[in-house]
Subunit: 332 residues, 2 copies
């Protein structure tokens, strides 16, 4: 039952996690948006049958889940917000570690996703690729010799692959460097944006860096390109941290965040993410004697619906904030 986000992995002082997502569609079937519920369910079951037993994926009809369970899956990035918004004729294949998930009848018939903690682009791609090959043994994918995999949205046509890493960039955020970096990486075919909530100041200083180009480039080349930029960003973040952490004001900030997390009785999502970001930076910098693993775990599991799902009932915001504070105190 060791979830993927409990691992550490490479570059984990900056890189929280790696995600590879493959979009596939079955030949001879319209895209899901053109299918009625019955046809979707048929397709879902067909794909389910094609999954090898050894993959250990659990088949979950989305309509059987409670609202907090569904939203919690989206918070943990197991499913997309779009997938969470409508359960009709949709199903999910999920591994016990939650590192592998396949959304059935999202925008495409198949959205296969592999998550790993730390920086693990090649490993994640290999894992996704093997599962893709296994499915391909019984299923026939919509594929064009010239274009590659066909997807509903033209931005995915080609490899159908989206590779992304979640980066923790508190120092580059503090030095107001993100805007410039976002412009720079966009010129290199990548997108940098807030992982939780869009806008200038994403919660927890967490960002998603992903490839944009899927056409005319191999999966390996796209991954290599992304990896190069990730390593550069990580080096910049580390340099900025080293500079910042010299100041007693920054140390004060980190220790206070730690003190509050260890003692507060009420913690809103926003304040929690703000504080845990500082503590994570303090932990990986060796300033605080806290296991950084716990920080990533809390960031992933203590989102609003995650807490309700954990408790097993829909909590009011105030109860949720009290429960969040309790879990944080007991974990840190």
């Amino acid at each position: 039952m060791k979830k993927w986000y409990l691992g550490e992995g490479e570059q984990s002082d900056v890189v929280v996690s790696t995600r590879i997502r493959l979009a596939r569609n079955l030949e001879d079937y319209p895209f899901p948006s053109r299918l009625d519920t019955k046809s979707r369910v048929q397709i879902n079951e067909m794909i389910h049958k094609a999954v090898p037993e050894a993959a250990g994926l659990r088949y979950i009809e989305m309509k059987t889940l409670t609202q907090p369970e569904i939203v919690s899956l989206a918070e943990r990035h197991m499913i997309s917000p779009e997938f969470a918004s409508d359960t009709d004729g949709r199903a999910l294949l999920l591994s016990e570690d939650e590192d592998v998930s396949i959304m059935l009848c999202e925008e495409d018939h198949i959205r296969l996703q592999v998550m790993t903690s730390g920086l693990a682009l090649s490993e994640s791609y290999d894992k996704a690729n093997k599962l893709d090959d296994a499915l391909n043994e019984t299923l026939r994918f919509a594929f064009d010799e010239r274009l590659g995999y066909l997807t509903q949205c033209p931005t995915n046509i080609g490899t159908g692959m989206r590779a992304s890493v979640m980066l923790h960039l508190p120092a580059l955020t503090a030095t107001h460097s993100i805007g410039t970096l976002a412009v720079t990486v966009s010129k290199l075919g990548l997108t940098l944006r807030g992982a939780y909530g869009e806008g200038t100041a994403p919660m927890g200083d967490l960002y998603q860096l992903s490839n944009q180009v899927t056409l005319g480039i191999s999966e390996e080349a796209a991954i290599e390109n992304l990896k190069t930029i990730v390593l550069q960003l990580a080096a910049q973040e580390r340099a900025a941290r080293q500079e910042l952490i010299k100041s007693i004001e920054c140390q004060d900030d980190i220790y206070r965040a730690y003190g509050i997390l260890k003692s507060a009785r009420i913690l809103s999502t926003k304040e929690f993410m703000h504080l845990i970001s500082k503590v994570r930076m303090g932990a990986v910098s060796g300033l605080l004697d806290v296991d950084p693993k716990h920080m990533s775990e809390l960031m992933v599991t203590l989102q609003p619906a995650g807490i309700s799902a954990k408790v097993g009932k829909n909590l009011a915001p105030r109860e949720r904030d009290i429960e969040r504070a309790r879990i944080v105190r007991e974990t840190i």
Copy 2:
């Protein structure tokens, strides 16, 4: 070397300390403001000789002290701010515990003061009275059969006694009850005001309650009157605390204050007093496992000049705030 403020005493959940101050002047000598330096020094030495050896008072010429040492004495309420402002021809008699001090040539020739932790009006008065009697054996005080002791300021004529208690009233402050209470006690011949800094929100929720009337009332009656009101205020404060502390918002507030004090690297006087007040309330309410004694000690000793005096040099505000945070972390 156990300072008075390390004790606890009665009603110490609300009453931090008790102070009795007696104003006396020598017969046949003008008030200090009318004396030159030489005459002041003569008077000081005369009074010094009159102090019995057993009292254990150290004689300190104010001009021999550094500025931080002088201001620190005022912060600990050993001397008045007025006395601290000018060292010319002034001396201090001080016990090792700092519970007894005699300002020489302040406004009056003698300002004898006894401090005790907690509520101890009668005990403090007895102690002051005994020392007063001892001085009176060799010194002749300016005394009028009809008026009583003569002092420079008419507001002290009569008993020459000011009895005051320092109260910690965080709950009555939070419920905005202080204004009304100040008006009520003034009708009973008492004054309620901030112990650190005048104004509506005194630092640390610390207040000084003292008698105003010295003429036409015995010392015993004045003390009895003050004691009655103190007990009533303490009861009101306790009731307000019990009500407040039920709410998780108040508990959250107290625990956070504790968490910040235990971890901050920079603490300004204002923030420190704000937080320690909450922690003291949490400690006496049993919410926090902290010795309330330490709270009173820190409140008394961590004022700006006190820190410079402790370190032994004049610190810049930033260095002082760093040093304060260090001492707080090590004490709590």
